[in-house]
Symmetry: none
DNA sequence: GCAAATCGTTCGTTATACAGAACAGCAGTT
DNA sequence: AACTGCTGTTCTGTATAACGAACGATTTGC
C-alpha cells in the first residue's frame, strides 16, 4: 500500500495514468488541423481546459476525456495508449516450458492442464509440505501467474513484494520476474496455479 | 444535508459519456468477488468514491477510472463500453444478476482470473451446494472447459456424455455445446474451472 | 447473547477540474 | 502605425471529485 496520498509532486496526478495523454491529444488535434477554440466548440470542453490537458497540468475528468476523444474521432484507450501505433506483437513465445519441480523436495507441481494444446496457458496442481519453497526463474515476458490457494498458507514473493495468501484467496502476479512461493503454514499447502502467457498483446 | 445530494437530476456526466460505467464497474468488482474495501486497496481509490461511481453519482477523474480499470484487469474502453465486448457467459441473465450464479441458487461462480482481456481464458472458482446444478449454454466455438475438483463429487454432462469426478481429478471437455455440472455428493463441492477459448485466427 | 469484523453508504473537508473572461503573441488587411 | 482576426495562455469563481472518518446494517465469532 503506501499509496502516497497527500503527496502531489506533479500538478495533479497523471503520473501513472495517461502519462502522455496531453501530448497525444495535442497531436491528434493538430493532425485534424483544429485550434483550441475549434476543438473546444466541437467537443464542448472549454479551451482553457484543453490547453491545460495538453500541457498535463490537470487531471481531467472522464467525461472530459470522452468528449475530447469523440471530437477527435477516437477512443479513450487509444488516446491513453499514446497510440503507440502497433504495439501488439503476438509474442507467441513458445520458450521452454518451465519445468517446475521440487527443488527442496518439499514441493510438487503436477501438470493437470494442457501444455501442448495451446501454449497460452498451463495449469498446475501445487502441493507443498511445510516450509517448502518453490523458486522460479522469470517466465516469458508478459506471463502472469495465477495462484488459487485451496488449503494452507502460502507466501508469495515476486520482485520485491511479498504477500501471504490463505485458502480461498487468489493471487495474481507477474511471473516475468523471479518469484518464490513458500509454504509458511504448519501443514501441507495446496493450490492451483495457472500460468498465463500474454498473447493478445495490447494489454495496455 | 448541506450539500443537497441524494436527489440529483443528472448525477453529473453520464448523459453521453460512460452511460453504464457504474454498473460495469460493479459487475466486474463482484465478478472478482471483491468488496469495496478490497478494490479500494488494490486500486488506490477511496472506497467511498468507488461506491459513488458505481451508483453513477459522480463523474470520475480519468486517473480514477484508470486505476480502477487496472485493478479490474481491464481497459478503460472496455469498462466504458458497457464492456462485455467479449464472449462469454453474460449468462442469458434473465434476471440480470451481475454475479454468476446458477438458476437454482446453489452454485456460485466467482471469477478469479482475467475476464476481460480479449484473451484466451477465464478462471473461475466454483462452489456448489449439494444437488446444485449449473447449466451453461454453449460457449463460443472451440471453447474447452477444464474442471479440477477440489472437494465433493461432481457430475458433468456435456452433450450426451456424463462423467463423475472426484477430488483431485481433472476433467476436460468441450464447452461449445450445452453442458451441465451437478453436485451429486452429500456436501458442498468445490472446483476450479478454467475456460479456454480457441485462439483467434491463425492456427486452425 | 454481545463483541468484532465487514459490508456499503453518507458526512465533512480539502483540493482541483471546469467554464468563461481577460490576457498576450502574431498574422493579415486597410 | 493602428485595427481586426486569429492563436494559445493565464486569470477568476464555482461546482464537485477526492479522501478519510464515521455511520448503520449485516455477518461472523467466541
Amino acid at each position: 500500500m503506501s499509496t502516497r496520498r497527500g503527496v502531489k509532486s506533479t500538478p495533479s496526478n497523471n503520473g501513472e495514468s495517461g502519462a502522455e495523454l496531453g501530448k497525444t491529444i495535442q497531436r491528434l488535434r493538430k493532425a485534424y488541423n483544429l485550434s483550441l477554440g475549434e476543438l473546444s466548440e466541437q467537443s464542448g470542453v472549454a479551451k482553457s481546459i484543453i490547453s491545460q490537458i495538453e500541457r498535463n497540468e490537470t487531471n481531467p475528468t472522464l467525461s472530459t476525456v470522452i468528449r475530447l476523444s469523440r471530437a477527435l474521432d477516437t477512443t479513450v484507450d487509444e488516446v491513453l495508449r499514446g497510440e503507440t501505433s502497433s504495439l501488439f506483437i503476438e509474442h507467441q513465445t513458445k520458450s521452454g516450458i518451465p519445468m517446475l519441480e521440487s527443488q527442496d523436495g518439499l514441493c510438487r507441481l503436477a501438470i493437470v492442464g494442457p501444455l501442448s494444446l495451446v501454449d497460452s496457458f498451463q495449469w498446475y496442481d501445487f502441493h507443498a509440505k511445510s516450509k517448502g519453497v518453490l523458486e522460479s526463474e522469470p517466465h516469458p515476458q508478459g506471463t502472469i501467474e495465477h495462484l488459487y490457494i485451496v488449503s494452507g498458507e502460502l507466501e508469495i514473493t515476486t520482485g520485491t513484494e511479498t504477500k501471504t495468501a490463505k485458502p480461498g484467496e487468489a493471487l495474481r502476479y507477474r511471473a516475468d520476474v523471479p518469484h518464490k512461493i513458500v509454504n509458511v503454514g504448519q501443514g501441507d499447502a495446496h493450490a492451483v496455479m495457472v500460468l498465463a502467457l500474454r498473447q493478445t498483446g495490447q494489454g495496455q
